[in-house]
Each structure stands twice: as C-alpha cells, then as structure tokens.
C-alpha cells in the first residue's frame, strides 16, 4: 500500500479541508498533529500534464502561489490578477491532493521591506485552498532604499548569519505566523557567496530561528549539497549541528555546473550525494511530513516523464523504508 493511500485513509484530509491545522505553529508538539504525507512534487507548467495522466505519481503537490497570479504592484487595483489557465489546474488538484504552499515573495531577510497586502493575499489563498503548511526562503529579494524606492534583487540573495539579522528575521516570522493560517516553514538558502566573520554557523542560525520564532524548517538538501560543494564544507557535519526535529519538509533536486560553480538549477535528477543525505536524515527527522522533488520545466525535455517518475520512485522507496512501519 502506498503512503498516499495511508494518509488519505487516516481521515485527516478532506476536500473541504476541515481537518487542516487552523493556527500558526507555536511548537513542534503542535505540529506533530499534522499527518505525514509522503512524496510530493513542486508544481511547474509540465506538472499538470504529468498528474492528470497519472494522479498516483505523488502524495501531495507543493505550489508556488506567486506563479498563479500577476502582481501589478502596490497601489494597483486590483493588485493581484489570477491566471485563469493556471487556476484551473489548482482547482483540479485541490480536490485530489493535499496541497502545501511555497512562496517566493516574502523576502524574509529584507531589512527594510514588508508587504502587508501580499501577506493578506497569501492568507486568502490559504483560506481558499487550505494549504497544510507554508514555506518561504531564508534570503532576501527585495530592498527599499532610504528614499523609499523598491528594488528587486533579481534572485534570492543569501544572508550573513549574524545576531542582528537573526533578530530581524525572527521578528518577521513571528509577525507572519498569526497571519498565515497554517504552520510556517523557513527554507535554508543556496548561497554562491560566503561572508567572512559571521556571528554563527548556518545550522546555529536556523536552530535559533526555530526556537525564537516558532517556525519549522524546510530542509533543502540540494541547497545544502550545492553550498557544501561550492564552499568546501561537510554537509553531514551541517546536519549533525542542525535541530532535525524541526524539519517538516525536505526538498530534493538536481543542478549543474554554470559560470564556474555548481548551481541549484533544478536541472534534472538528484545527484547521488543528495539521496545519501536524505537516507541519513530519515531516521532522525521525527516530524518530517514530506519529501518534495523539484525540477525546472525547461529541463523536462532532457529527462522526460520517465525521468521524473524515476526520481519520485526513488524518493518514495526511501520514504517507505523509514515511514511505512
């Protein structure tokens, strides 16, 4: 029996979503009530075709809400305009799969940026689609200059692991949690730069963030692998330092060499070391609810539906080895 069948039969989930956690995460004990899901996929434009032809492929779907609307910017009325053709898939998926949300617009690490209207939009989507949890990245993408001018960084920019940054991110997450009506996860970021003289290591930063803000963790193993490979540190040592009890979701993905570094390009199959990291953490992550495979649709022609299936089956085999008892 697949883990999907297990989770659907457990009575935790219904299309009307009444069983979904209704308040922000304040402790891991509270989060323990959320059922384990199994293996999921991050939505991209080719995923609807994969899932409509084989709904048994995954146990849940992770979606980036930002991709389903056009944001016309603060002050525009209406500001958020949904994309009809994409929403059709979401409505279809929402009655067939548990959904989790993975946003890209909160810019949690920004020192001088917040966007209440965007947060309200996310909260509205939670009410509509009843995402089981919500995640965003430990990075910043938006800055606001002293003159009030907004600027987008064009990518997710990593943060130095300093006390003042921790204080700022903790305050942001604490303010967000009551507004997003499901548990909130923060994802470790990929970083092509390394900052000297940081106050603490990344695992210590993440542990403190969990402790002080009440969030949980989305552990992106490919981000970790990428950083370890580029900056020459031991990924296993990182995991030994991290509070794995706080890990609720794991991301696995592939990458490739680009501009002289190994990048988190989601270019296809996961490298073997990422699978090894997943194997290593499975026995130590009692609150892990799902393993999500990510790939970028532009690489789909290079590995195809069978390639995606193979990755999902590999993830499922590992999941079942540790969770199906």
């Amino acid at each position: 029996m697949s883990s999907r069948s297990n989770s659907k039969n457990s009575g935790w989930w219904s299309p009307t979503g009444t069983a979904v956690a209704g308040s922000a995460l304040s402790s891991m004990r509270e989060f323990a009530a959320t059922p384990a899901l199994g293996v999921g996929i991050l939505h991209n434009p080719v995923v609807p075709g994969l899932l409509t032809s084989d709904p048994g492929l995954v146990d849940y779907v992770s979606i980036m809400p930002d991709m389903f609307w056009t944001d016309r910017g603060p002050g525009a009325n209406p500001r958020f305009v949904k994309l009809d053709s994409w929403i059709e898939f979401l409505d279809w998926a929402s009655i067939r799969f548990p959904l989790v949300a993975h946003s890209i617009g909160l810019s949690l690490g920004s020192a001088e940026f917040s966007d209440d209207t965007y947060v309200e939009q996310l909260a509205g989507w939670h009410r509509r689609y009843r995402f089981l949890w919500h995640s965003d990245h430990l990075s910043f993408a938006q800055v606001r200059s002293a003159s009030g001018q907004e600027q987008h960084a064009g990518m997710a920019v990593p943060l130095p692991f300093d006390f003042d940054v921790l204080e700022g991110v903790t305050a942001r997450v604490k303010a967000l949690c009551p507004r997003i009506p499901s548990p909130f996860l923060v994802e470790n970021a990929v970083a092509y730069l390394s900052f000297c003289d940081q106050d603490m290591t990344e695992p210590k930063f993440l542990n403190a963030l969990v402790r002080d803000s009440g969030c949980a963790l989305l552990l992106d193993l490919h981000n970790l692998y990428t950083n370890a490979r580029n900056h020459g540190f031991d990924a296993a040592g990182f995991l030994r330092e991290l509070d794995l009890d706080a890990v609720v979701e794991v991301h696995v993905a592939g990458g490739g060499e680009f501009a002289g570094m190994y990048t988190d390009s989601h270019a296809g199959p996961c490298p073997e070391p990422v699978w090894s990291l997943l194997e290593a953490i499975m026995p130590q992550t009692p609150n892990l609810k799902g393993v999500t495979f990510e790939f970028h649709d532009s690489y789909f022609p290079t590995f195809g539906a069978e390639g995606v299936r193979a990755q999902l089956e590999r993830a499922r085999a590992i999941w079942c080895r540790y969770r199906s008892q």
């Binding site: 056009t70 020192a111 064009g154 730069l193």
Partner: protein
C-alpha cells in the same frame, strides 16, 4: 540602517558587473555611497573577488532576460546583435522593482518603443513584431473563461448594432506582409531587410481556445479606423469579416471580468 544599506549594496553589485569591477579597483569610491559597518565593508570588498559574485551577476541577467526573451521572442530575435546592448541600456535604468514577468515585459516594451521612436533600432521589423507579441501576451493573461461566460449572455448583435471588438481579440498592424514575417520569425530567422513594405491589419483572438489570426480586408479596416475616431461605426454590416469570426460584441454592456482584469 546598516543592514539595509548592506543589502542595497549587495543588490547593486549583483545587478552590475561594472560596479563589482569598480569596487575591486577602488573600494572607497564605491562604498562611500552606502552606510556600512567595518565588517560589512570588508565583506563587500571580499565578495566581489569571489567566483560566486560572477555567478550571481550571471544569474541576475539570466533571470531578468527570461521573461523578455520568452514573451517577446520574435522581437528579441529581430533585434539581432543590438539585443545585448539594448538590454544593457534597459538594465542601466535601475527601475527593477519587482520580479513580475508581465511588468518586466511591459517596461522593456516601453523602453524599446522609445528607442525605436528615437531611430536607435536598426531592425525594420522590431516595431510590428513588438506590438504583435504584446497583443498575444494580453490575450494570454486575459480572464478568458469569465469573459466568454459573460459574452455568451449578451444578445447577438443585429447587422447595425454598434459593436466593440471582442475582448479576447486584439488588432495588430503590420508594415510588411505578416504571413512572410511571422513565418520567418517562427523559424527563428528574419526576412531580408529589403522585404517590401505592405500595410496590413490582422486580428489575433483566443475566442476558440486556440490562437486564431485573421487578416482584415479593407472594408473592416475602414470601419475600425472610423470607430477609433469615436464614430461608433463598428457594426456587423460594416465589418463583416470581424462579424463572421464572432469578434464583435454589442456596445453598452459592462464586462465585470474586465473590471478585475484591466
């Protein structure tokens, strides 16, 4: 302010390989523009020497060019060797306020229109391909389902009913044979630069899910032109090609789908 200023500096550097080089050459001259702690100054001075900064600069450019090249593909191809320098000029404007595909494409379109008007673009096809692709994008993002439902409830227009163009259709004007130009663009090439000029008006629509393109005969073009002068002469009788393609809807009905989807 220090952390905010550090983040601003990092953004500026990632957006500009030239600024990274300037910082390498003369840190004081660049960092004087930011309020930074000593540690932040050291970090910035170091990161511009890291290979990862070059990766970031490349990713930044890749991320920004993706929506433009994806949604204005024919236009970009028509620019040939001018595309890169035009992008550099566009990015120099430093008005990248969000990561939204649509707004980035709209900003680039406004920039390119101005450069075309300035006579700075050598391709004779760029202007018409730009307007054509903007029309396609407008249809791509239109609330199709809601509009079709609303329009289905309207009375069908009589031969002399004043009409408007269907909101799931757009007019696109060409100065060269659109069939030749679009066929070449679809193959990833451009026609010879001396392709004869030939004014043409086409209507692109997604009323029937698949994209439909109709070239308008002179009679329909005349009706459209007069209608643009507020004469309200666009009727099925005066624009039979549009009427037969079901691209006319009666005037005087507010479509709520358009209100929430400008």
């Amino acid at each position: 302010m220090s952390v905010a200023s550090f983040q601003q500096a990092l953004c500026d550097l990632i957006a500009s390989p030239r600024l990274c080089l300037a910082l390498r050459a003369n840190p004081e001259a660049v960092l004087v523009n930011y309020e930074l702690s000593a540690r932040e100054r050291t970090r910035l001075t170091e990161v511009v020497r890291q290979r990862g900064m070059s990766t970031n600069c490349t990713l930044y450019r890749s991320n920004r060019v993706t929506p433009i090249y994806t949604l204005l593909n024919y236009t970009c191809r028509s620019l040939g060797d001018q595309f890169g320098p035009l992008l550099d000029q566009f990015w120099d404007a430093k008005d990248y306020q969000d990561g939204q595909f649509q707004s980035e494409v709209e900003r680039f379109a406004a920039f390119l229109r101005q450069r075309i008007a300035d006579g700075a673009v050598s391709s004779p096809f760029a202007a018409e391909l730009l307007e054509f692709e903007l029309a396609l994008n407008a249809l791509e993002f239109a609330p199709r389902k809601g509009l079709l439902l609303e329009i289905a409830s309207l009375p069908p227009p009589e031969p002399d009913t004043p009409c408007r163009l269907h909101p799931l259709a757009r007019i696109s004007r060409f100065r060269h044979d659109p069939a030749v130009l679009l066929a070449a663009a679809a193959r990833g090439v451009m026609p010879a630069l001396d392709l004869p000029q030939q004014d043409a008006v086409i209507v692109v629509s997604v009323v029937d899910s698949a994209l439909d393109i109709v070239q308008l005969p002179a009679q329909d073009c005349r009706a459209l032109a007069e209608d643009a002068g507020a004469i309200q002469s666009l009727t099925p009788r005066r624009a039979p090609t549009l009427a037969n393609a079901r691209l006319l809807v009666p005037r005087g009905y507010a479509l709520s789908s358009l209100l929430c989807h400008p």
